[in-house]
Symmetry: C2
Subunit: 200 residues, 2 copies
């Protein structure tokens, strides 16, 4: 959605940034709740007009998802760079761990944001569209490495399952304050492998 190619030397300079709007918005969401905050409230807090806000973000729902899309590109690069001698599921798992890894000290903030994203019905719904892109990245990776098409069930299901593991871990992480996200991702993957394990 951003359209910066070089430095914008022509025309009227931007009066704000995505990050600036996002920061004000998240404050308000925390203060009054997501539904309880109107777009006009956010625009006013950010010192811009309602119309301008919609030039920065396609929708109110898009604001808290913020830089998720940027993270997607990174996930894709990480998967492409994965060594081919480790099992596919393991490469995937490690990439996901990295993708969800947080810099030290930012855990509390990440928890706040994820709680908003994963516990607000309107945002839960919107997230489905984000997840579809995320799954697509995984499915394409699987397809590439397995020599099948990206819309083959076998690739698609791995994309869904990888997402399943991540979301389950986040669910539990948000439900229990004293847990570590990385551990939960490991637990979820292990549980799934055992659950489906070839012991039948």
């Amino acid at each position: 959605m951003r359209h910066r190619s070089g430095a914008e030397v022509f025309g009227r300079p931007r009066s704000t940034t995505h990050g600036g709007i996002e920061a004000r918005a998240l404050d308000l969401f925390e203060e009054r709740g997501f539904e309880g905050t109107t777009v006009d409230d956010i625009a006013q807090a950010a010192g811009i007009s309602r119309r301008t806000l919609f030039r920065y973000f396609a929708s109110k729902n898009d604001i808290p998802w913020g830089s998720f899309r940027d993270g997607l590109d990174e996930l894709e690069r990480r998967l492409e760079a994965a060594p081919t001698d480790v099992p596919l599921w393991q490469a995937l798992h490690e990439a996901i761990l990295d993708f969800n890894g947080l810099p030290e000290g930012s855990e509390a903030q990440h928890r706040r944001r994820m709680r908003l994203l994963l516990r607000t019905p309107a945002l839960q719904a919107h997230s489905a569209l984000m997840y579809a892109e995320w799954r697509g990245v995984v499915a394409r990776f699987v397809a590439r490495r397995s020599g099948i098409e990206a819309d083959d069930v076998r690739a698609v299901v791995v994309g869904h399952a990888a997402l399943a593991v991540s979301l389950a871990a986040y669910d539990a992480w948000l439900a229990h304050d004293d847990t570590d996200l990385g551990d939960l991702l490991d637990d979820a993957l292990t549980a799934l492998r055992r659950h489906l394990g070839a012991d039948a």
Copy 2:
């Protein structure tokens, strides 16, 4: 959402039914697309006022999902009735196969509805809320049989994974006209088991 306990003998009789509205709506959705159909269009086609329509359905998004919620109850019953001597994942898989089984001859219609549900962005988003309930049913079943809490990662991840298999199968089913949904569900599950197989 329905509130019929006995026969409604008192008061003004209902002028329509959920099914009646739904049928008109689906016709319009197919004709003009989901976004291209307004609530007023639907109300007019159904011969009721806009306000009445919203007394039958909580939102426009809820209309095409129709009887999904009823199906949920059936899934839950089916899981409760599953014999305890078959492996958990297998009981689950069979219940899902049943859940998604169609009466003979209705495949074409089911395809149309599912294409609408799974390929319309607004409905994809809305579906996230439905899926959450679906996963909850599975997670509770797993928790019950495994003696753990329903919000334990190990139960939650199975709910997510079961949904993952179903959605992957539907994806592929919609993408390829000549496929059988039951076969695809089998394929997806098999692929996932192999993918995560205990061969590492």
